[in-house]
Amino acid sequence: MNPGTTNLATFANGRALDLASIPTLGIAEFEQSILEGVSLGQRITALFATSAGSAEQTLLYAILSDDKQNRLYVGRTQVEGDQFPSLTPRCPQTHMFEREIAEQFGIKPIGHPWLKPVRYHRSWTCRDAWDRPPGEPIIPAVGDFFRVDGDEIHEVAVGPVHAGVIEPGHFRFQCHGEMVYHLEIALGYQHRGVERALLGGPTKRSIHYAETLAGDTTVAHATAYCQVVEALARCPKTARAQTLRAIALELERLANHVGDLGALAHDVGFLPTASYCGRIRGDILNMSALLCGNRFGRGMIRPGGVGFDADETRATELLRRLDDAEQDATVAVNLLWNTPSAMARFEDTGPLPLKIAAELGVVGPAARASGLMRDARHDQPSGLFRFVHIPVSTCETGDVFARAFIRWLEIQQSIEFVREQLRAIPAGSTMVSLNSLSPNCMAVALNEGWRGEVCHVAITDERGCFTRYKVVDPSFHNWIALAYALRNQAISDFPLCNKSFNLSYCGHDL
C-alpha cells in the first residue's frame, strides 16, 4: 500500500467498485491526498463532479493512477454551497478539470488562476460560476484572453474557421514579430453534450455516442465504454473477442500514426512522404473495413465482445495487406528521416521539457516524446494487453522530431503486434450476453488510444442506470501542452507543432 494514498480506495483498471467503499473525505484531506499522490509520481486521470441529491451539495471524485504499480486510487469529497478551494496553484494538472467542474456544476474553485469556461455551455445546475444571466447566449471564445502589453506586441487571432478543412477552434497568439510569447486556445465549438446524453443509459444509442466521441479514436472510445459496461455487468470476457479488439485498436493506431507522419511531411512541404503516407493510411483504414465493414472501426466493438468475427481467410488477407503496408511505410517514412531539409524543420521545434510534461499531466505519444514512460497498455493494461506486452517507446528531446519519431517506433511495434495476433486468434465465441448493471457502483476503464489515454468512468444509481458518465479524452490533457510548446517559437511553426500533437477538438469538447 502506498503511504500517501492510504485514505483513498485502491482498485484496478476495468473493475467495478461499490460506491459505498469509496471513502468520502473532508475537503482538506481530499486535497491533501491528491497532492501527496501527485508528489509521489501519480497522475490525475479524472477529476469530476456529480450532484449529491440536493442542489446545495456536489460530490467531487478524483481518480489517480499509479503507473508504476498498475493501480488506481479513487476518493471523493462533498462540497457544500457554490465554492471549493482550487488545487490548481499547487497542482497544475487540475487546471482544466477545475474549469470543467465550474462550468458543469456552477461551483467556483476559489484561487484558480485563470478561471474561464471550457466548452461554453450552460451549467447543469441552477448555479453559474460566472454569474451570467440565464437568458444571455454563451458564445465560444468570447471573453477574457491573456494579453501581453507593449507597443511592439501584436495579437494574432486564428479560427474558429480555418483555411484548411479541419475542426473549429480559436487560437490567440501574443507575438513579438515572428516570435510567440503566449498562445491561448479556446475550444467548445464542437460541444454536443455527450456526457449528459449518456445519463440514464445504457440504451441502444449509448455505444454509438461512445463511437462518435472522437471519430479518429472510435475503437479506443468504444472499447473503453464497453469495458465500463462489462465491468458493471460483471460479465466474463472471451479471449477471441479481446484479441480482435486489440487488433482493431492497433489498426486504428497504425492508420492515424501513418497519416500523422504524412501530414507532418506535408506541413514542411515535403511531398513524397506526404502523399505516400496518405495513401498507406487509406490502405490501413481499408484493413479496418475488411475486419468490420467500416474504415473507422464502427460496429466492431460491442458490449460483451465484438460485432464481427475474423475467419481464417480474412486473417490471411489482413496479414498480406499488413506486409504490403509495412513495406511501403518503411520506404516512405525513412525517406523523411533521410531528408536533411525536413529534419531541419522538425528538430528543436516546439520542445516540451520532461518536467513540464509531467506537471501538466500530458499523456500519449506527446508524453513519451518528452521522456515520460506513460502508456496505458503497459501501465494500466486491460484486455489482451494484460497478456501480451508492447514495449513502451520513449524519446528525450520532446520536440516535433521526437513526437514524429515516437509515432514511427509505435508503428513498428504495432505492426509486429497485429501480425503476431492475427496468426493465432484464439478460438471461442466473440460475444457473451450481458447481465443488467450492478446498482450503486463505479467503474473505470483506461485504454491507450493512438492519441493517448482514453478514460471512461461510469457511476450507476440504485436501478443500475448511469447517473454520471465521465469521458476524458487524451486531448483534454494535452491541449495545454501544445500552448506551452509554442512559447518562444516562431509563429510560422505553429501548424507543424499543432500537427505533431494532432489533438482532437470534438474529443475535448464532447
Partner: protein, 298 residues
C-alpha cells in the same frame, strides 16, 4: 507579336508542368497540365466579395501588379529575339517595376487590416530587402559582361556569345538568379504554394482576402512573373540558338518548360526552410551575385 502572345499565353502552363512534376514524384496522377487555365477561367466567371474595411488600394493591388509584370515582360527579350521595348537603362525600370508590384501587393494586404495579411506583408518586404540587391548585382554583372545598358543587349550578350573567360561569374549569377526566381515566385524552399496554413505563408497569405476575378488576376500575374524571371535566368543559363527563327522559338519554349521541371524537382526533393532561415538563403543568393561581380573586377 510572337513575343506578346507567348508572354500572355504560356505562363499558366509553367505551373501545370511544375505540378505534374511534383505529382510524378509523389506517385500520383496530378492535376491536368492545363489546370491553371481552367482555374483562371473559373475565377474570372466568379463574383467578387469585397471586405467592408478595404478601399481602392485593395482593388488596385492585383491590377497594378498585373500591369507592371506585363510591362516588365515587354522589356525582357524572349528567346533569341529583341524585346518590344528597348531603351538604354531599361534594366532599372525592370527592377523597379517589380518593386512597384510588391508595393501595391503589400499595400493591398495591409489595407484589409487583417493580422495575417500584415504578417505576410512584413515577411514579403523583409525578404525583398535581400532579394532585390541580389537582382541588382546580377544585372550589374550582365551589364559589365555585355557592355550594354539595355536588357535586350545585356541578356543576348556580345555578338558571338559570352566568352569563356566570364563563365565563372555567369555561373554564380545563374545560381543567384535561380534562388531569386524561387523566392519571388513563392516556391519551396522559401514559400509553399500548396499550403493553406495562414500562419506560415508569405505570398499566399497576402492575397487571402482576394476572391473571384481579383484572385484570378493575382494567380495570372504570379505565373507571368515566373515566366519573366525564368526568361532572364535562361538567357544566362542556356543561351543556345540555332540562328533560325522557326527553330529558336520552340527551343526557347522547351527550355522554359525544362526550367519548370527543374523547379518541380526542387520542390519535390526538399522541405521548406524554417522562416528565419530564409534570409540566409537570400543572403547567399546576394553573395553569389556579388562575388560574380567581384570576379569581373579582378
Amino acid at each position: 507579336m510572337i513575343h506578346v502572345s507567348l508572354l500572355l499565353v504560356l505562363p499558366p502552363m509553367l505551373l501545370g508542368v511544375i505540378n505534374k512534376t511534383k505529382a510524378w514524384f509523389s506517385g500520383c496522377v496530378g492535376p491536368p497540365l492545363l489546370q491553371t487555365y481552367y482555374d483562371l477561367a473559373k475565377l474570372m466567371r466568379k463574383s467578387l466579395v469585397l471586405s467592408a474595411t478595404t478601399t481602392w488600394v485593395f482593388l488596385a493591388g492585383p491590377i497594378v501588379t498585373l500591369v507592371t509584370v506585363v510591362l516588365a515582360g515587354l522589356l525582357v527579350p524572349v528567346g533569341r529575339f529583341d524585346a518590344p521595348i528597348v531603351f538604354s537603362g531599361d534594366l532599372i525600370l525592370f527592377a523597379y517595376l517589380f518593386g512597384l508590384a510588391r508595393f501595391f501587393t503589400t499595400a493591398a494586404a495591409l489595407d484589409t487590416g487583417s493580422a495575417f495579411e500584415g504578417m505576410g506583408a512584413a515577411r514579403e518586404v523583409t525578404f525583398a530587402c535581400l532579394s532585390e540587391p541580389a537582382l541588382f548585382f546580377a544585372l550589374l554583372v550582365l551589364v559589365k559582361v555585355s557592355g550594354s545598358l539595355t536588357l535586350t543587349g545585356m541578356l543576348h550578350g556580345p555578338a558571338g556569345g559570352f566568352s569563356m573567360a566570364v563563365a565563372a561569374p555567369l555561373v554564380l549569377v545563374a545560381m543567384g538568379l535561380f534562388v531569386i526566381l524561387l523566392a519571388e515566385t513563392c516556391r519551396i524552399p522559401v514559400d509553399d504554394p500548396n499550403t493553406h496554413l495562414e500562419l506560415t505563408m508569405i505570398h499566399e497569405v497576402m492575397v487571402l482576402d482576394h476572391s473571384g476575378p481579383l484572385l484570378g488576376v493575382v494567380l495570372y500575374a504570379s505565373a507571368l512573373k515566373m515566366f519573366v524571371l525564368g526568361t532572364v535566368l535562361l538567357h544566362v543559363l542556356a543561351p543556345f540558338q540555332t540562328g533560325q527563327a522557326w527553330l529558336d522559338w520552340p527551343l526557347f519554349v522547351l527550355e522554359l518548360l525544362g526550367l519548370a521541371v527543374v523547379i518541380g524537382v526542387v520542390e519535390s526533393v526538399m522541405a521548406r526552410l524554417r522562416m528565419h532561415h530564409v534570409p540566409y538563403l537570400l543572403t547567399a543568393a546576394m553573395l553569389l551575385c556579388g562575388f560574380g561581380f567581384l570576379l569581373l573586377l579582378r
